[in-house]
């Protein structure tokens, strides 16, 4: 199963997209977006894995042993931070939408214009 971890990432992506499309609640929509984004963490970390590689930290190992790829791990860290910020912003939109329209169902919100 040389590509099984990548298939897992694709599966998580598809699950999140399904939730996004069928969601009837904005909070659930936000959580589904988090699921979609989680697939990118799995993808990044899986792509960077090197068989037999150690974690890219040299505090207690000497020389230059083989490590897993640190660049994609740094990208995953960036990804997590941006996700947290986006989630907070979207949650604030959901709060105001609920206050103004009394509903979190995007189907009902679509009736409002402007």
């Amino acid at each position: 199963m040389a590509c099984f971890p990548f298939a897992v990432a694709a599966w998580i992506l598809a699950c999140g997209l399904y939730g996004l499309v069928t969601s009837r609640d904005l909070i659930r929509t936000i959580i589904c977006l988090i699921v979609v984004q989680s697939s990118t963490y799995v993808m990044l970390v899986a792509v960077g894995y090197v068989t037999g590689g150690i974690a890219p930290y040299f505090s207690d190992v000497a020389g230059h042993p083989k490590t897993v790829d640190p660049v994609v791990q740094a990208l995953a860290l960036t990804d997590v931070v941006v996700e947290a910020a986006v989630t907070a912003l979207l949650a604030s939109f959901a709060i105001q939408a609920h206050k103004r329209f009394g509903t979190l169902d995007p189907h009902d919100l679509a009736e409002f214009k402007g």
Partner: protein, 271 residues
């Protein structure tokens, strides 16, 4: 469009997406044999070049430092946007913050008719939150100051520091949370952290070095992995920690204010 139609349309679309993804995945190198050239190039030089032993932090705050500046400003911009969205709207009023024990009773109403919608905190939650606050602050600082030697850094440490403030709120002390994190101080900390990161980079220019070049002493070359090693990496990590902590404290504060203090103004009564 009915939900049923929507689902069918989605299934058709996702089938195409899965086909494309499958095609792409089939063309990837097998799991465990990543041929990317940058990772090995950096791991081979990082200790010698920066004296840092945490490679991911060295990449974030040194090799990809410019990207991380952008990322930091995404975070600050998102929190600023959230503050704007969660402002007090027309037809709403903000109550003064109180921690009167009677407010903890969900059935109690204040004279103006507004009700503080805060659930009663149980004794167990209070005790756990109080007991965890100190260790959380310690762990947060440790993470923010040890980016250069361990899998930590300003982003992780900052979030943990903000969690400590949230624990203060969880222990039932909204006033204490507000007093510990006055809006002016939090805003200033956020500005110092984010602006400081950019300033550390700009300070390299008068020295004739590229933006964000590592111009601070790297510590003794024979002993990498000391906390004082790695030059600007440690400084930037700490500044990021301050900015992230402030951003998340502001975020938590805005949500709490929205839930606890801001209420719909009761309709004006005629005489």
């Amino acid at each position: 469009m009915t939900p049923g139609q929507r689902r069918w349309l989605f299934l058709v679309g996702v089938a195409g997406l899965v086909a494309f993804l499958g095609w792409g995945i089939a063309g990837l190198p097998a799991f465990g044999s990543y041929p990317g050239p940058y990772g090995p190039a950096i791991t081979a030089r990082v200790v010698q070049q920066t004296n840092a032993t945490g490679v991911v932090s060295a990449i974030n705050f040194e090799y990809r430092g410019f990207d991380t500046v952008g990322e930091e400003f995404i975070l600050v911009a998102a929190v600023a946007g959230m503050s704007v969205v969660l402002r007090r709207l027309r037809g709403e009023r903000a109550d003064a913050a109180r921690d009167d024990p009677s407010d903890l009773d969900p059935s109690a109403t204040d004279p103006s008719g507004g009700r503080r919608r805060v659930p009663v905190t149980s004794g167990a939650v209070r005790m756990a939150a109080l007991a965890l606050t100190g260790p959380t602050v310690l762990a947060g600082w440790w993470l923010a100051t040890h980016a250069q030697t361990s899998p930590s850094g300003g982003f992780q440490g900052g979030v943990l520091l903000a969690t400590a403030f949230f624990l203060v709120y969880l222990s039932g002390e909204f006033i204490a949370f507000r007093r510990l994190s006055p809006v002016d101080v939090v805003d200033a900390a956020e500005a110092i952290g984010a602006g400081g990161f950019a300033a550390v980079g700009v300070a390299a220019l008068p020295l004739g070095l590229p933006y964000l070049d590592n111009y601070l002493p790297l510590g003794s070359p024979g002993s990498p992995g000391a906390v004082t090693s790695s030059g600007t990496i440690a400084v930037i990590s700490l500044l990021v920690g301050v900015a992230v902590a402030a951003a998340f404290i502001q975020l938590i504060g805005e949500f709490l204010e929205q839930t606890l203090l801001i209420q719909r103004r009761p309709p004006a009564r005629g005489h």
